[in-house]
């Protein structure tokens, strides 16, 4: 598989503060790639560098094999972006916004109804953007990013602040895009999002990559964090390792009928992040 994005020793500094510190990674075509990190980790800065809006101080960043500082019309034509701020025309209606971008992307206006139906905004097509809810605005913003049939989608926190139903709908759209072969590069601080839809994730903290891999592989690396939490009938709480060493003790409690509840805590990306940094993702 060819690499869509390639980053080598990339550093960005604002004044003297390092925002991105010697990052290196590659994103193969056709995957959902997640950049996971708390606010201020450098996620948006990295998207700005990759989309050519910001120049790095050191290192190399390539998009489709081309230096991001010298992106041409051809590369821009292959990018769809949903940025942190929605970038829609608030006084125009949903349809007028997509119609305008159809002109800009030189795509057919006939596709607009289908796109609106696919994101569930067809009924609201005559509504001005200023009157849409946050979830609807995000979906419209995503629809705009999809309008030019981009090979690569940059999504900056696409589900931030959305309800679970809308989040699920956006995830379904992204999974559908992956099936079509589109590469999705998304930033998030939502570990469930990263675990459920990303093929590969990078954990970013203060501009440094602290862990990377497939979500399941990362979790497996922190299997020593896998614990069993047992509450006994006398309200005693026990924490045991989730392996064969705990079996005799559990068997004994079960035989004595003393167990009220038993839970396991499999390692998650958040647990991995906390283990690595000592703080949570939110």
């Amino acid at each position: 598989m060819k690499d869509c994005i390639k980053v080598e020793q990339l550093s960005v500094r604002f004044s003297d503060d390092p925002v991105l510190d010697h990052l290196s990674f590659a994103v193969p075509e056709g995957m959902i790639f997640g950049l996971l990190g708390p606010s201020g980790a450098g996620k948006t800065t990295l998207i700005k560098v990759l989309t050519g809006q910001l120049c790095q101080n050191e290192g190399k960043a390539e998009l489709f094999g081309k230096d991001t500082r010298r992106l041409t019309a051809a590369e821009h034509g292959n990018i769809g972006a949903m940025l942190d701020n929605c970038g829609l025309y608030e006084r125009l209606t949903v349809y007028e916004n997509l119609s305008f971008y159809a002109d800009i992307y030189h795509t057919s206006h006939q596709e607009i109804p289908d796109i609106l139906k696919s994101i569930g905004l067809y009924e609201a097509r005559k509504t001005p953007v200023s009157e849409l809810s946050k979830g609807m605005t995000n979906r419209l913003s995503l629809a705009r990013a999809l309008m030019n049939h981009a090979k690569l989608l940059f999504l900056d926190e696409p589900t931030s602040g959305l309800d679970p139903v809308t989040t699920r709908e956006i995830h379904d759209i992204l999974l559908e895009q992956r099936k079509k072969g589109t590469t999705v590069f998304l930033t998030t601080h939502n570990m469930f999002e990263a675990e459920s839809i990303c093929d590969y994730v990078i954990l970013l903290n203060r501009g440094n990559i602290i862990e990377q891999g497939k979500p399941a592989d990362i979790c497996r690396r922190y299997d020593h964090m896998n614990k069993l939490h047992i509450t006994l009938t006398d309200d005693t709480e026990l924490t045991l390792d989730n392996d064969s060493t705990s079996a005799p003790a559990i068997k004994e409690y079960l035989e004595q009928n003393r167990i009220r509840s038993i839970h396991s805590s499999e390692p998650t990306l958040e647990i991995a992040f906390i283990e690595l940094t000592g703080k949570g993702l939110q």
Binding site: T51, Q53, A73, H76, G77, I79, A81, L83, N85, C86, G87, L88, Y89, E90, R91, L92, E96, F100, Y101, D103, I104, Y105, H106, P128, R144, N148
Partner: protein, 230 residues
């Protein structure tokens, strides 16, 4: 060209729902029509209100409109999305600029008709307005590009607009102001409009307007290089 037309059409739809910008285009033509047809003062120069408001229109409408449009697009991130969507800065600026210029020229036509000009003086009037609007567009674009937010743009636009719009009127009452105002394009435009029946393009007028265009273009390019569009 396609992008420019798309931006032009988008701006028409947007302005029709944007009262703040719409009022800039309509206010002076409407005021001119009302004042010219209702106020009659003895010994008032011919077309006094037409020339007065035409000069104010040049100093205010294009400048405030284009500054408001560009700064709003910067503030709301739409300009960044356009640049990422492969819209070239010149396509955007020409699309927005030609829209504001044409809208202001339509307003100027109303002011011109209020002055009951003949064909020849009417054409000269529109020509003078076209040049004045163009310079104000450059000044407004400088403010729009240089400001990150609409609020910031407004705080700069208001004093700049006041200087260009009111300088010709103030120079009527104060000789010292008149001496300084000679070097400002709006004063030269005002003088040309005042003497439109005996229109004469003197070297001083060409020089002052030319230098004003040159300075505005230079500042525009410097601001564009420093701040970029998005």
């Amino acid at each position: 060209m396609k992008n420019m037309i798309a931006i032009f059409e988008k701006q028409i739809k947007d302005t029709l729902r944007n009262k703040t910008v719409l009022i800039q285009f309509l206010m002076f033509p409407v005021i001119t029509l009302i004042m010219n047809n209702t106020v009659k003062i003895p010994n008032m120069p011919e077309n006094f209100f037409v020339n007065l408001f035409a000069t104010m229109y040049i100093g205010m409408a294009p400048l405030t409109s284009i500054a408001a449009v560009i700064s709003e697009e910067k503030e709301k991130n739409t300009l960044r999305v356009l640049v990422l969507s492969n819209v070239k800065p010149y396509e955007y600026l020409l699309g927005i600029g030609s829209y504001v210029w044409l809208a202001c020229m339509t307003g100027s036509l109303v002011i011109c008709m209020a002055g009951h000009h003949g064909w020849k003086t009417g054409l000269i009037f529109m020509g003078i307005m076209a040049v004045g609007i163009f310079i104000s567009l450059l000044v407004g674009a400088v403010i729009g590009i240089g400001c990150r937010t609409q609020m910031m743009a407004t705080s700069i636009t208001v004093p700049v607009m006041m200087v260009f719009s009111f300088l010709p009127m103030l120079s009527l009452f104060n000789g010292t102001v008149a001496k300084i105002a000679r070097f400002v394009y709006s004063e030269q435009i005002s003088l040309m409009l005042g003497g439109i029946t005996n229109f004469e393009l003197t070297a001083e007028r060409i020089g002052v307007i030319g230098v004003n265009i040159f300075i505005a273009a230079l500042v525009f390019m410097a601001t564009f290089r420093k701040c970029k569009l998005a």
